[in-house]
Subunit: 331 residues, 2 copies
């Protein structure tokens, strides 16, 4: 799926800032595509973008309305429909990262069909994939991996893409989750692919490329997460990374959602990823560690990054606090 840009970010009636996390990610990483926000009465989120009416957005060239909010059950609320229908009448497509599909809402589906607009449910892959071939592809690949889910793999990947492009290097972020797909404008939500095709979908996502081109592939889950390790392994095999960056959150006391499972150590997790990744790329190496230090004060964060870098002999960064330059130096 390939979304048309630029975007109007629809925040609906988001009841706090966190509910608009997906839209916030798009606004942060793709300011050049984010023309403005549209908030319904009662909306408590604010991305700091211009508030635009649908007519103003259309005038400024908005091509897709991004439904960038999360809610209980991932549903499309009845109260959003007049806005979404009108947006299509004004020429815009719709894209959503919600669990429930835009295409399952009859009025949206019917109007889109009549007007030729596209409804993109980015959480649900729409194409079929081949099984993975394990064939070596041209070009270079970096994959972010992690000790757990939801600790900064997407942010780290996007920061690396940004830093590489700033230096004039050829790099493309490859999205594997719904927020990443809205940010990249394309991608595959690998955890929603039929399990026979995980590595095949990842191979498709990151095809042959120029020798000096890097795909920066967004990781998912963790080899040590009992619920999702199969996805992480299929992604690792399909990505065939030349380089991995290990992502970690130092204050987490157990695997996300599973209080009875402790986090693996960084060393154990790096070793397991290197060992498994060698199957499809014997040259795989770890080029850095990315630590999400949001919960730490400056001096604690600084000394943790320094200690970890020393212990592993690898660049160790927080992409938000200090950027990822030290990792890109290694590539």
């Amino acid at each position: 799926m390939k979304l048309r840009t630029p975007y109007l970010l629809f925040l609906g009636d988001a009841h706090d800032q966190l509910a608009a996390k997906t839209a916030a990610g798009v606004a942060y990483w793709r300011p050049e595509w984010s023309l403005g926000q549209l908030r319904l009465p009662g909306c408590k989120a604010d991305l700091g973008l211009p508030d635009l009416t649908l007519e103003e957005a259309a005038e400024r060239g908005a091509k897709t309305v991004i439904i960038g909010i999360a809610n209980r059950g991932g549903v499309i609320a009845e109260s959003w429909l007049p806005t979404l229908l009108r947006a299509m009448e004004l020429g815009m497509d719709l894209a959503s990262g919600l669990h429930r599909r835009l295409t399952d809402v009859a009025p949206l589906r019917e109007l889109a069909a009549r007007l030729g607009r596209r409804l993109s449910d980015v959480r649900h892959p729409t194409r079929e994939f081949e099984v993975g071939s394990g064939r070596k592809r041209s070009g270079k690949r970096l994959l972010t991996v992690g000790t757990d889910c939801s600790l900064g793999k997407m942010y780290t990947s996007l920061a690396i893409e940004r830093e590489m492009r700033r230096r004039g290097l050829k790099a493309d972020f490859r999205a594997t989750g719904q927020t990443g797909i809205l940010i990249a404008g394309s991608g595959v939500s690998v955890d929603a692919v039929i399990s026979d095709f995980i590595s095949g979908a990842t191979e498709w996502l990151s095809p042959d490329n120029e020798t000096d081109h890097w795909d920066i592939i967004e990781g998912q889950g963790s080899l040590f997460h009992p619920s999702f390790a199969g996805v992480s392994l299929g992604l690792l095999h399909g990505a065939q990374p030349d380089a991995i960056v290990m992502c970690h959150e130092p204050t987490r006391t157990h695997m996300r959602g599973l209080p009875h499972y402790p986090l693996p150590s960084l060393r154990e997790c790096i070793d397991a990823n290197i060992a498994a990744g060698r199957l499809t790329n014997p040259a795989i190496r770890c080029v850095g560690i990315s630590i999400n230090t949001a919960a730490l004060d400056d001096s604690t964060a600084d000394s943790l990054l320094k200690q970890t870098a020393d212990a592993f002999g690898l660049p160790c960064v927080d992409p938000v606090r200090g950027g990822v330059a030290a990792i890109v130096d290694r590539l």
Copy 2:
């Protein structure tokens, strides 16, 4: 999905014995459910079962017609329809392991709906699963794993179930692929599950049970197969096996379908499964090796089994040649 037994095995116009492999597996492992075979003109396969008309099968109590053949594209041939429709009129359900769905063939779907018959496309899961919880379940579990795909994991699992039951032990084969599901009468085709739910589907397949009960879970793929390792890992984590049996085919020169990938060594493959399996069951151990020696003569096979047993200090058997008693002794 739960199939009604006994079965009539439909061989259609299978053009050789291999095309009826699925039905042959059912007839071999479930003679008590296999009332007979139904062959159309031109059929070259023969399971050695009585040839029954639909009317005879109905009279003898057949509850489900098993479409136990493979063909190019996995399609339901036009020429089968009169037989399949008549079977439903006589009170039978239909079950198929083909890629194309019975429920996608309008005349079958419509008649089944009208008469209240069940169409089971066992390759395609019909229910939704939870994500895996990693929670420890009561009862014991054995998982067959392998150096590659298609080398005897299902046969090994079924032989262990049969041997355990013969000894009066409590054991249930748990099917994870289409042939296995037809043999067990229920199961989940895990490689067709959405990848987020691989381990969750496996947890569902093998629920809490009596302390002295063993689930014998059919493995899939290999941690060393670049196309399918994600499935194998999710299955390993969801199964939480107390015991694994490593399955191997000694004459295979490369991973199935991938000429550029050599097979892993038995040692490497056992170690990798034990290391990964410890995440959800720290007590996991390898209790035996199952070698498919079909391609070897008796004395070569014998000496390979003995050498391997000595080298690993584990029972090493060929389930077809000599049975699996030595492995069951270990449980």
